[in-house]
Symmetry: C2
Subunit: 403 residues, 2 copies
Amino acid sequence: MAQAGRFEQLWSAIVDIGRDPTTGGYRRFAWTEPDLKMREWFADECASRGLDLIEDRMGNQWAWWGDPDIDASGGIVTGSHLDSVPDGGAFDGPLGVVSALAAIDILRASGIEPHRAIGVVNFVDEEGARFGVSCIGSRVITGALSPERALALRDTDDVTMAEAMRAAGRQPEQLGADPEAVGRIGSFIELHIEQGRGLIDLGRAVAIGNRIWAHGRWRIEIPGEANHAGTTRLSDRQDAVIGCARAVLAARAAAEVHGSLATVGKISIQPGGVNAIARSATAWLDARAASEPALRATVAQIAEQVAASDAVLTEESRTPQTALDNDLVARLAGLLDDAPVMSTGAGHDAGILANAGVPAAMIFVRNPTGVSHSPAEWAEPDDCRAGVAALATVLTDLAGSEQ
Amino acid sequence: MAQAGRFEQLWSAIVDIGRDPTTGGYRRFAWTEPDLKMREWFADECASRGLDLIEDRMGNQWAWWGDPDIDASGGIVTGSHLDSVPDGGAFDGPLGVVSALAAIDILRASGIEPHRAIGVVNFVDEEGARFGVSCIGSRVITGALSPERALALRDTDDVTMAEAMRAAGRQPEQLGADPEAVGRIGSFIELHIEQGRGLIDLGRAVAIGNRIWAHGRWRIEIPGEANHAGTTRLSDRQDAVIGCARAVLAARAAAEVHGSLATVGKISIQPGGVNAIARSATAWLDARAASEPALRATVAQIAEQVAASDAVLTEESRTPQTALDNDLVARLAGLLDDAPVMSTGAGHDAGILANAGVPAAMIFVRNPTGVSHSPAEWAEPDDCRAGVAALATVLTDLAGSEQ
């Protein structure tokens, strides 16, 4: 089980899809051309392995080796997502899907015949780059996000998710919670690039993820009064950009006070003219903390401070602190040479599934830059192989096998 | 000369062109469909009056009543521009063009035959809403902006002005300084909506403009390091949005210290994802002051403060404090019942021409909201008529006439 199957071949087939030639970053947004190409690539790879591909009511793709419906407790599922943030790295998402296929190749090359069905999933729109809400695929099928709310989300071109799905040849009216699809997941193991410096500091290639910080997104709407930048006295102004700047700094200050993380990465200004005082601004806040109280305190402090600019803070999505499955984490630790166990501030579909009662754990692969959501995101080939090998070991154990 | 000619008819023909039905504001950007429609409307109105329409090397439209080349000192020109800021008001620009045509109607209805040619001009891209530099039309023909620099300017979709002009059926290679066109302007009178509260406070309908503040635009580029918003420690971050927020507040603080105006109305963030720490941000600064030293001090203070975030401030355009023509201003004051004389912080083509040695003055029409660059911009019909009547009086006097 030392080889990594066809990992490099799988990887090279997708490395150019949705890549911006200028930045080297990826722009694989839900239901856009590059996303559809990635889905097609996934379907082709599954077909070439004789896996049964089905889609659930959200369009998440599930490829099964064996029939998960035979066993009332479902199958063993691995996988991740294939979309990206704007100018994202190559590994966040695809590493988990490619490693899943490569791990199946290893099992088959080793002549393993699993007792339980093994599934590979590609979750739709994990990053939320287009419609502002993350983990759409897992939220909708578990009922954490209603189809009405999901379909009404709008991208920056004011296209609703319903319109985007229809333009991509989908039928948005099918969308909804899918207990049948969720019920097929006996256990979920998501392999993912590490998005921090933990494994660098520990000198290890692979870790086990046991916990996801509480996190969420809020919209801060700052009102102003449109006017001419060259003729309006400072004392007569209500400039939304000033309120927006204060909100950005208030977020950072609150995170420092509460030992949490708070980030504004997206701002929209209306009307956005160089010589026009802004009539409104919207800043999107991403906040995270190791505990629920710390997250609540962070957001409450920001809300209080922006209220001074008459700004209003509205929750767009929120995921509570999520403990992944203790037994599963312990089992992985035993299988993987006592690999280190760590928590993460990043949200994942594994966390959404865990909140819906699915036993879930994660495997992280070392990122030598410590940088993610950027073209600088990286994993060494040896570490990728170590990740695939770890995943193959875990699948073999969880699915049970005869050799 | 009490009637206002066909003012209302002229006005109603353009009131829907380029208007956003949601905001009620105008989006007439250079070389876009609404701008081309406005140009066509102007050409048609000039043709219906038997005016000779010519275009200079920048595409500014000049409609002549009489031959300006007969008199070595040129003709008497009035007019303004037909483009808008994003979600701009109806009056900024078009009021000057419509009033010019209406004033000619009055002169003709009164049987006046001017000794000197009278011209009406529509200047291209006065607001600079699309390419970031204002008064493109007058800057290029006076040689204040080189054709190379103008054509290389880019809009937010990365379209160059050369490409935009070509797409609009123009020949950008013709573009350049046009001393012949400038030489035909014996005097220039630009009528414009007031963009402040001066005439409200004075209880007058019309004022004469004698001076334009020093003003300019600067680009502030703030570097950052792209990373994941959920996993990067605050101490490890270089977040361009934080630097951008500090730049916005530094600009306001500097304006307060120096009694000037400084505004950020447009910001661009890369990559702009909700959960991505920004790798770069650009903020555009609009700064103005009654004197050159005050403007210099304002911008120097901002540059010094943003340097703490490793941000760099680059001048995009700058117009020195501009005295309009003293003799012309005095003559207008005598003709217009001692109308008040005032300066303005807003830039105008009249200022660009004055800097190129053309005798120029302005007429301002009261704006009861005091608000400009916004759908709230307004002028009462009586005040519009007063503006047209004032312009007709001035044209009659300057052009000389037999009746």
